[in-house]
């Protein structure tokens, strides 16, 4: 990654942005993980809303999943350090208040990773869902649809707790939001 970035930097500008800098930053952010679900990156979670070059460096725009996300400072710091490691100075990580995060923003790859992590996944809802969609989840362990919800709250704000009648296992699910 680093060599590619260096090859593309222009002689008159020490910034490694060049022609593919934006893409390289996106790629690098695939390695910045969500602290609460450490196998999912901020890209998989749909938290990055923009990467742009500024007069003095770069700006990464992001949105938190929940208003009360306690990990937001950790995530911002991780993004900044990652982008700095590509050779940028003046990396600004900005909270983007023009876009509201919802669970439809999780990428298809992100949903597979969620299941592998042992969590049920939210169905695509396009902003329209009720108790039925909230209560019903496929079991991430055995794939059965024969499950019930125990509680709409779980160990973190983004999870609800469920039970599978087929494999008799309790599981958590990433809520539709």
């Amino acid at each position: 990654m680093k060599t590619e970035v260096e090859n593309n930097s222009v002689a008159t500008n020490t910034s490694p942005w060049g022609r593919t800098g934006g893409a390289a930053i996106y790629k690098s952010l695939e390695e910045v993980m969500d602290p609460e679900i450490p196998t999912l990156s901020v890209i998989d979670m749909g938290m990055i809303t923009g990467v742009e070059e500024t007069a003095t460096g770069v700006r990464v725009k992001m949105i938190p999943t929940f208003t009360a996300c306690p990990a937001i400072h950790v995530i911002k710091d991780s993004i900044q350090k990652k982008v700095e490691s590509l050779g940028y100075e003046n990396v600004e990580v900005q909270l983007d208040d023009s876009i509201v995060w919802d669970s439809d923003r999780i990428t298809p790859n992100g949903k597979i990773l969620l299941e592998n992590f042992g969590l049920g996944t939210p169905q695509r809802h396009c902003g329209n869902f009720g108790m039925e969609e909230i209560a019903h989840s496929k079991c991430p362990h055995c794939g059965s649809e024969d499950t019930t919800m125990n509680s709409i709250f779980g160990s973190t704000l983004c999870r609800s707790t469920h039970f599978c009648f087929s494999c008799k296992q309790a599981f958590e699910r990433f809520k539709p939001v």
Partner: protein, 239 residues
Amino acid sequence: MADDELIYGHRMSEWTGMGPIMEEDIAYSSMAQDKIGHALANYSILEKEFQTANPDKLAFFRKENELMNCQLVELSNHEYDFSLVRHFLFDHADFIRYEMLSTSSFAPLAQLSKKIKGELKYHVLHADTWLTRLGNATDESHARMQSALNELWNYALGIFEPSDFEAELIAQKIFDGEKVLQQKWLEKISPIIEKANLKIPSATAPVYGGRKGYHTEHLQPLLTEMAEVINSEAEGTEW
């Protein structure tokens, strides 16, 4: 609004480790976390758009009579029935308030409201589930729900105490006003209360005052406890 979230978030957090069953313990803890997050987001708008003191200062260093929360949210938790009915009454009003504000002409608040109402959806569903379940369970659970509803009703009407800026807010299309909110709230909760086999108390006299800084004896001990840690350190301590 921010003070409602802060004080109510603190009350909800008091159920952490005390819930009647583990799921409820977790539910109240999660909702408390949401509320404090919502308070922070609202205080942050005040700081950014109106140059008030920072959110920590607003939360921890104001006097009792400087807080504008409705009295409903400051009342002690009492038993679970009381807490649950308050949760039902408050969160429906809160959800509708943010829903209304999501089309506000004040853009920062409109944007935040879109986010918050999605989170409050879960609070409302939680309250509805338990209210209907306990309203229809045993004689004792039904009696407890009804008596909590009787006790809390006038305080709940106090949520809608109009401010001095009501006309201005409506004229500038910032907010449709407390009257409209109260009407929408009543329409929303009435069928659910009926489904829970409960009755809305007939004699009603709203408890006003909270929005103007008048509070019950329950608030000061809460404020003292909430600021206990920050007051134990020298000013400017970094955490």
